[in-house]
Amino acid sequence: MAGPAWDVVLPSGMSRRSFLRLVGGSVGWSLAGSVIGTQRTTAGAASRELSLLVGTQLTMKSLDPGRTIEASAYTLNHATYDSLVTFSGEDLRNPKPSLAMSWSVSADGRAYTFKLRPNVKFVSGNPLTSADVKWSLDRVINLNSTTKFLVDGIAEVLAPDPQTVVIHLKTLQPSIIPILSSSSLGVLDSKVVIANGGDAGPDAKTKDQAEPYLNSHSPGTGAFILTSYAPNQEVVLMKNPAHWRGAAKIDRIVTRNIEEPAAEQLQLGRGDLDVATGIGPDQLQALKGVQGVGVKTSLIANTFYVLMNNNPTIGGPFSNRKVQQAVRYALDYDGIMRIAGQGAVRLAGVIPTLFPGSLDSKDAVKTDRVKARALLKEANLGEVRGRITYRAGGSSWGVQLDLLVQKIQTDLVEVGMKVDLNGLASLTALQEYRDGKNQIGVWGWTADWPDASNFLVYVPGGVVGKRAGWPADATPDAAALAKLGQEAESEVDNRKRAALYQQVDRRLMEIGPYVPLFQPAVPYAFRSNVSGVTFNSVWGPDLYAISKTG
């Protein structure tokens, strides 16, 4: 009875006895290898290629550029697609040409004309044209997906000739150039994507069916080609030999999800990984002394901050401006910076120092508990009692949130406030924060594109402003600050824009319900035969820049 079933299961030409011998032999071999420790796996055919093995926390929902803004997807899409502009390495200040060789701005500042690089081909062999750029941007505009905020300012995309793209903006928005570097705005091979269910028309949000295709193929012009994607497990890229900048130095990149940082550290230490980007500060310290391993940290365009709710019903005493100022002076920033970890930088305002328009760290508030107590006395509210909400057990950019929040609690108690900790499960905490129900919260905001305009979310009526119970029409002061934010965002002169951002940041420190703490630095490590590893705050490592010997 079993015969036919075995015939179905077994490879052709293999008898049941040989199969059993094979399995038995494998078990024995493996166990012997485990016990004796003599057997090491060989890479077989794949070892002839130059492979790069990357360990990370590979968590993303999609590889469709138009539907993802997740960090892992940004890294991979940055390698498989090209955008009109880009940035080099860790720089976030100087946009560089990518698919666009050059661009110019109209006199009114609302139309940007891009000249495309000639002779660029997609992996299909199709030539890149302005129609592809227009189609790709139109698709993101019409998908109404999580990437929509990137193109909110675009009124229209035109393709007057095959090598020219014109982007008309709804209002003045000089940040459009850094925004266009986003991996989400990578240019797709429109013919191929349309043939596989893609739609960029006004009904794209319902008609576009290209996501499954884009989760298994990368019809872009990037340096690498997606060859396999197992969600939350592993992604394999092969180099694109016809890439316009010249083929990448690495033939094959395997990126694997390793949830546990300690396991990632050990694998890098033993040479089973080439690059580890999912490690924390503890692993960084441990790897520092390991032979054959290099470690680095890179600043992240992120603001760790304390939020106090301006809505008296929710914020209670913490909605009082004097209490908010008292909190600023009560914190022991030296102690907080020790928790922030190696490479982190103290913030004087909410705009990270990586961007023009940020305040100098030297101007940051200094701990002054006498002043804090005096401010509390001036507030004359009796006992100041509150509750800090945060993601219990969580970590962000390697910073352990429990430690940070406990430190803040201790500091506030020092000046006579009574603060309880409200550590919640990640999603519940995030929900409470987004619903604007945190009395006090400890959060971070990371730039989605390389520009200070990201951080206008803090002004009254901005995304974070609303969460802090601070609508644009809260007070005349708030309305003026919201207006100043708009001015900064639309100022086309770089120098004036930077000055306006500084003005916004200073004013936020005077009247805003926030305490900016620090910008973190991400730790990562790599084998010493690997070079060119950098970590861009928006898209992580630039895989094209990495090379490896041996």
Binding site: S26, T41, P231, A263, L266, D448, V463
Partner: protein, 339 residues
């Protein structure tokens, strides 16, 4: 015949059980004080009503809850478990990819667990209070007490990082291209593809996580086997067997162990369920892409279709294992009547 009709009745009972499971999973996952919008849209997207509306519409979250549940059940009856919000793949595809990894791990852990714990329990009982017994008791206490997470990390540290006996975490070495997906059991798929390198590599990768995962079962089953054997060894029929002059090992194995195994069978069944749950942690530590890590990811992103899918699969496994335990009871001990 009575056994077969019992099995048939138990199988038929699966249908109402499934309804209960889906209803419970649905109700519990919707009772969480968080919104899938929060879990799945970024900061900007969640703040844009148009994006939120499009997201809710796409995933059917804009319909009333009873309607959502009704649609889910209707689709389920047609073999459609929906599409995962987290992976954008059909849940059935995800389960097909993830379940074999967990079954592979849990089965290996169970085999290791039984192979170690049953003889150890018997030896421990037969040599009560001896050094063997003391070692077995301490060992099983350690197995029960040690958190799998810690044990896994220590295992990796010693056997992988220090001694180099175990391979790196994962189901396959990163240098080894995976075999074409056929069954999802990497070892079998590798053999089917004639890829001995991948089969050996996969087996090699299985040993340490399976050993770690089996620690708890080894502890529990050893203690249960020992206790059960001590009880049986004091029975009159064992004394009679000894009095008849039967060799000691025959008395222990043929007369005592068979009866001593009866309560252990229940524990083995329950342990298998425990292994599935324990796999969540083990899979995280060992970067093992199985159902556990899928369940965790689904729960943290409020991926309702995936949560329901995992609930159904895990419950089915539990039910089937319990059924097997009941059948095994009847086979081991003819005095037990099913039905």
């Amino acid at each position: 015949m009575r056994l077969w009709s019992y099995i048939l009745r138990r199988v038929l009972l699966l249908a109402p059980m499934f309804v209960g499971i889906t209803l419970l999973s649905f109700a519990l996952s919707h009772a969480v004080p968080a919104d899938p919008v929060t879990a799945n849209l970024g900061e900007h997207g969640a703040a844009d009503p148009q994006v939120v509306a499009a997201f809710r519409h796409r995933w059917g979250l804009d319909r009333p809850l009873p309607e959502q549940y009704g649609i889910y059940i209707w689709n389920l009856l047609h073999g459609d478990m929906g599409v995962s919000i987290s992976t954008r793949q059909p849940v059935i595809t995800d389960l097909r990819q993830r379940l074999p990894g967990t079954i592979e791990l849990a089965t290996a852990a169970m085999i290791i667990g039984m192979a170690l714990s049953i003889p150890l329990g018997i030896l421990s009982a037969v040599n009560r209070d001896s050094i063997v017994d003391q070692i077995a008791r301490v060992g099983s206490l350690v197995g029960v007490s040690m958190p799998v997470f810690w044990l896994g990390l220590v295992g990796i540290l010693i056997f992988y990082a220090r001694l180099g006996w175990a391979p790196s975490p994962g189901r396959l070495s990163m240098q080894v291209p995976p075999p074409p997906f056929e069954t999802g059991f990497v070892i079998i798929d590798a053999l089917l593809a004639g890829r001995m390198d991948a089969a050996v590599d996969a087996l090699h990768h299985l040993v340490l996580p399976a050993l770690v995962l089996s620690a708890y079962s080894v502890g529990v089953i050893t203690r249960m086997m020992r206790g059960s054997m001590l009880e049986v060894l004091a029975e009159d029929y064992v004394r009679t067997a000894r009095a008849k002059g039967l060799p000691g090992w025959i008395v222990v194995l043929r007369h005592a162990a068979r009866n001593g195994l009866i309560p252990v069978v229940t524990i083995v069944g329950l342990s298998f369920g425990g292994l599935l749950s324990g796999a969540v942690v083990t899979e995280t530590v060992f970067a093992w892409p199985g159902l556990g890590s899928y369940a965790f990811g689904s729960a943290t992103s409020l991926d309702f279709p995936a949560i329901m899918g995992v609930g159904i699969v895990v419950a089915t496994v539990y039910i089937l294992v319990n059924l097997l335990v009941d059948v095994a009871y009847a086979l081991i001990d003819p005095r037990i009547r099913v039905g």
